[in-house]
Amino acid sequence: MTVNMTKGQAISLEKKDGATLTAVRMGLGWQAAKRRGLFGSRTREIDLDASAVLFAEKQPVDVVFFRHLVSDDGSVRHTGDNLVGGVGQGGDDEAVLVDLQRVPPHVDQIVFTVNSFTGQTFQEVQNAFCRLVDETNGQELARYTLAGGGEYTAQIMAKVHRQGAGWTMTALGEPANGRTFQDLMPAILPHL
């Protein structure tokens, strides 16, 4: 069952049988810009980028984005930069995979963000969404719709943070502006 998350809603990543999740994937999908008229190649492509920032007690210790695809410790992996988007039918065009068991012990929060690298606002992007998937069985845990997100070029999507022995996910849904995750750092800090 999919949960459509609203801003600030927290979801515990414990499975129903009490076992905690071991691997999650943050997927990002959007529809490629439609080709217009005769000079279709002149259409500006839409490049959204998914990033994950690893924090230890509110200090960033590592980041996974299109120029650093694997965190140094190997626990967070980006599947690679997609520059144009997809068919917009719900498939992931970019994904960040997190092996929660391998996350180093001092890392207590991982924040997922989306940026429009090519500068279009989310109003101009069709069918954009972010979702969290249990990587072990492919089940979708949560989905957040980006489309109609207003005059913003970035969004701080969600964070997963340690709670007890397991992890919890909180939807943040905070709109922001910026080309890469670095521009978002001031906006992320209040959410930690």
Binding site: D72, D73, G74, R102, P104, H106
Partner: protein, 595 residues
Amino acid sequence: MVAELVRGQNHPLPRTRLEILISAEVPVLVAAALGDEGGRVHDGHGIAHHGTPVLPGIEVPRAAAAEHCLSADLRELSEAVHRVTVLLALPGMAARFGATAAPRATVTDADGTEIVCFTLAGLDAESAVVALELYRRQGGWKVRAVGQGYAEGLTALLADLGLSGASEMAEATHEAGRLGAARAAAPPKARPSEHGPVDYTHPGRQGPPQPQPQPQPQPQPQPQPIAGDAPGWSMEERLYNQVWGMFEDLARSTAALRSAADFAAARLDRELDEALADPRARIGGAGEAARETARAKHDELMGRAQAAHDRDLAQLTAEAEAVEPALPPAYARWDSPVWHGHRMPAELPRAVRLGDLHLPESASLRIPMLVRLPLERGLWVDSGATQAGFTDSAERRRLALEVAVALAARLLAVHPVGEFSVEVIDPAGAGAGPLGALTRTGVLTGPPSRGTAGVAQALESLTRRVDLVRMAIGGGATEALPDGFDTARRLLMVNDFPQGFDDRALTRLRFLADEGPAAGVHLLLVADRADAGEYGPLLDPLWRSLTRLTPSPDDHFADPWVGHAWTFEPSLPPQGGAVLQQVLGVVSAARIKGK
């Protein structure tokens, strides 16, 4: 090295006189069908079986047995034969391969040197199976591992090959098989697992005896590691990828530990400072308590980080213990048993082990340092002073040369005969001792070059060689190389560089370092950079273009993922060097035989 084929994989056959060994747990019938380009067999004379065991170019055994040997001479086959299908069948009508251990087929040349082997794993209700196909391809022959089974038995198999009267022939074959089995009076080996489960796992992939599982505190013990547990087209490729996977995993696990340690140390510092700066803490025991708390937090985090790292290390150590004994000679340590009874391989190696790498946090876990062949960069064994600090310069030089000799010997031993040759420049003759291992066995192209004239001559000839190959490649006319041109890769080993080198020779050596690898000429220098001090920065590009190896442990290699400093240790034969002598003896004997 024997190529272990998987289903569907093919392999070129270097010789036309072959023997095909079939071994199975129970007696099986073996036949060979001679087919046309489409693999169709036109009449009953196109199949060699018990009744007509000898056809031109192929001979099969007459009776069912557990061990078979077919001999084939592919040149003797008629021109119309494009495919030889080797098939196995169980003699009894009700038999099934699933009830026996997987049969195994090995193709050797007439001398008994194994070329490929294939295990027919995963069979179940089938009672007949196509094991291998030998087929013509571009003027030569290749072998393909097929493993296609037929639950309906030999009749269906023969019908698939296009044989008319397949069922009569199959029946006759079965009948003969039963008689043959009775005549052979070789009762099947007592099977320990008559009714128990049969192990179908690929015997070539089981690896060595598995290490005993460590008693682990985790609720879910990690799966036991096996050698070759990585993608790749061949066992060699899979092992290469697995070793690099272990290298990456160790780098990342250590990165997690170091990152946690840095964070814990910084937090401890900050909290101690805060405790000190708090005026309330100066009176009473509050300050002491705050410091205690900060230290406890630090220790607790480090305990968890260390536990995670220990868990990874235990897993990687178990994997290393499974992988290390399975490594082929090119990847193996000198003390590995694969070097005993070493035979010259038929195929070019993909990579070679230069030494071992480890990190200070896990000094007992050594990662083989494998680099791709042909070498893209030259090698430089540094005979200069290192941090580990041998004070005796002569001792350092001798050790560096021994590292270079062991490496040259390894490269010679893992290339097929005639594919790799080594020549040596020893300007002052100072390396005669360690070089003796190479010179005595006669594996070099000639005696080591001596003196300035010798250096000039050796470099002149190699430079000309590289020029020729470059021109041929550049002009797209590799066939235009002079007759008798030796196409073997060449390793030039230079002892005590730059002694005996004049400016002209230096220029040539730099040319070889830059252009040689693409033309099959590789450098192996033994040098102390301090000796080249008089040339100033002139030689800096040369040093930079070489991969530096050290005779003693030295941490100068960075991994490509995180950039840790890894300690390199060279791979040296165990004391006495008997293994080296024996392996070089094999190289030398194979070379004489090849001529």
